[in-house]
Assembly symmetry: C2
Homo-oligomer: 283 residues x 2
Amino acid sequence: MFKQISILGSGLLGASLAMSIHHAKIAQSIIIWARRKETVDLCSSKAWCQHGEENLEKSVQGSNLVIICTPVETIGSIVEQIAPYLEKGTLVTDVGSVKNQICLDCEKSMGSSEGVFIGSHPMAGSEKSGMEFASKELVNGKSCIITPMRDDPVDQIQKLEEFWKALKMNVFQFSPREHDRAAAYFSHLPHLLASCLSRHLDTQDVNWKKISGNGLKDTTRIAEGDPQLWQQIFQMNKNKILTAIADFEKSLLEFKELLKGENKNELQSYLKIGSNFRKELDK
Amino acid sequence: MFKQISILGSGLLGASLAMSIHHAKIAQSIIIWARRKETVDLCSSKAWCQHGEENLEKSVQGSNLVIICTPVETIGSIVEQIAPYLEKGTLVTDVGSVKNQICLDCEKSMGSSEGVFIGSHPMAGSEKSGMEFASKELVNGKSCIITPMRDDPVDQIQKLEEFWKALKMNVFQFSPREHDRAAAYFSHLPHLLASCLSRHLDTQDVNWKKISGNGLKDTTRIAEGDPQLWQQIFQMNKNKILTAIADFEKSLLEFKELLKGENKNELQSYLKIGSNFRKELDK
C-alpha cells in the first residue's frame, strides 16, 4: 500500500502504529523520527522500524505517508519544518486530540509544499504513555476521526481513510471545527471531570481512601494521563471546553435540585436516562 | 464457622455471597429468602442454597448469622420484622452503601430482640445487577467497611470481622457517620458525576457518539447501575452528598480559572496532583 511511511514521535501511539503497520504489511519500509539519540537507536533495533532518524528533514524524504505523533502543541511547527522536503503527493497526517487550530496551521504551512495535510484523530488513547506500553492491538477496532478541509483532494482523503481501515479502525469524517466541538463534550469533558474529581479527593482524609471501590477506579482512570499532554489539549480547545463545562453544570444543578426535592420518580428518571445512554455506548 | 447463615435477598450481592460462603465452607447450611416464588425455587435448585424460603420470619429461625442484601430503603423494616424471631446471640448485618440511618433504625428495632445488628458495607458493587451476574469471586480481595456502634459487644464485632475476612475481604472499621461522610466523597460523588455526565451527553448530537473512546466508557461505566437502587442511596445520604458536590464544584471552578488563564505550569500541576492520586489508588 505504501512504499515508505515516516512516523514522527515514538511514544505510545507512534510506536503502536509502527507495530500495526508492520503487522498489517502495508508499508515496505517504516522510518521513525525521535528527538533523542537513545530513542532513535532503540527504535532502529525493532523489527517494526527499518530506520531510526534524528534529523527531521531527512526522516520524511522519500515517504508517501508521514504521521505526526508528537504532542499537539508541536505539530504545527513540525509540519512547517518538513513541508519543503516532501515529495509530490505525500500525504501528511497527525494523531492530535484537537483539530481545528492544527488543521488551519498545517494547511497554511503546506501552501507551497508538494504534499497534502489532512488531520486524523485515532481514538486510541490510554492513561499510560510511552513506548513501553505500545501494542499492535492499540488501535484495532477503535474509532478514527479524519478531518479533511474543503479543498483537500478526494483521492488523498480516500487514501487516508483506507490507511486507517487497513489498521482495522472504524473511520468517520468530521470537519475540524465539528470535531473539536464534539471532542469537548465526549472526550475532553470526561477527562477533566476525572482530573477534577481526583484532584478534589486528594484534599480529603487519607483514611477515606479505604472506601474506594471499582466505581471510583473506573471513573478516575483517565486522570492518570500525562499532565503535560492534557494541559496542551485542554488549552488548545479552551473555548469549546468552557462551553461544555457550563452545559455540564446545568445537568449537575438539575441533579442537585432533584436530590433536594423528595420526588423519587423524577430522580430515578434522571438516573435512568444516564444508565441507558451508558448501555448504548457498549453496543 | 456458622451452623446456619440466612441471606435475605438474592440479587447480585446476595447470590455472590452465598456462592462465596459455600465455596469457603464456613456454614453448614445456607438459607435464602426472596420475595418471589420463582426466585425462591431457582435458589433452592442451586448447590449454594440448602433451602429457599418465601416466609421472612421462617427464613431467619435457627440461624447464627443473617445478612440483609436488599435495597437500602427496605433494610430498616426487614430488621423490624425479623427481630422477634432471632435466636440468642444471632448476628445480623447488611450490605447497604449508606450506614448511619440504617444503623440507628436497626439498633432501635433490635432493642428487645435476642440478636445484635452491626452494619457492613462490602465495596463490591458493579454496574450490573441481578443473580445472573453473581460470582463467588465478586467480593474476593475487595474492601469491606464494618460500622459498629458504641455499645456493640466486642465478640460480635470480632465475629463479623472474621466472617468477611473468611471471604477474603479487607476489613476496616468506621463509625456509621464517618462511613457516610467518606462514602459521599469516595463512592457517591463519583457515581453521581458519571450519571450527570451520561445524562448530559444524552442531550447532545447523536453523531458525536462516534467520538467516544475508552476514556468516556471508563468514566461513565458506573452510571449504568440500577437507577432505583442509586436513587435510594443518594436520597439516604442527601446532606453529605450535597456537601461533597459543593466541595467538588470548588475544584471545578479552580480548573476553569486555570484553563482561562495562560499559566501552563499551574494547570499542569493541578492535573499532576490528580494523576498521582489516581496512580496511588492502584497500589
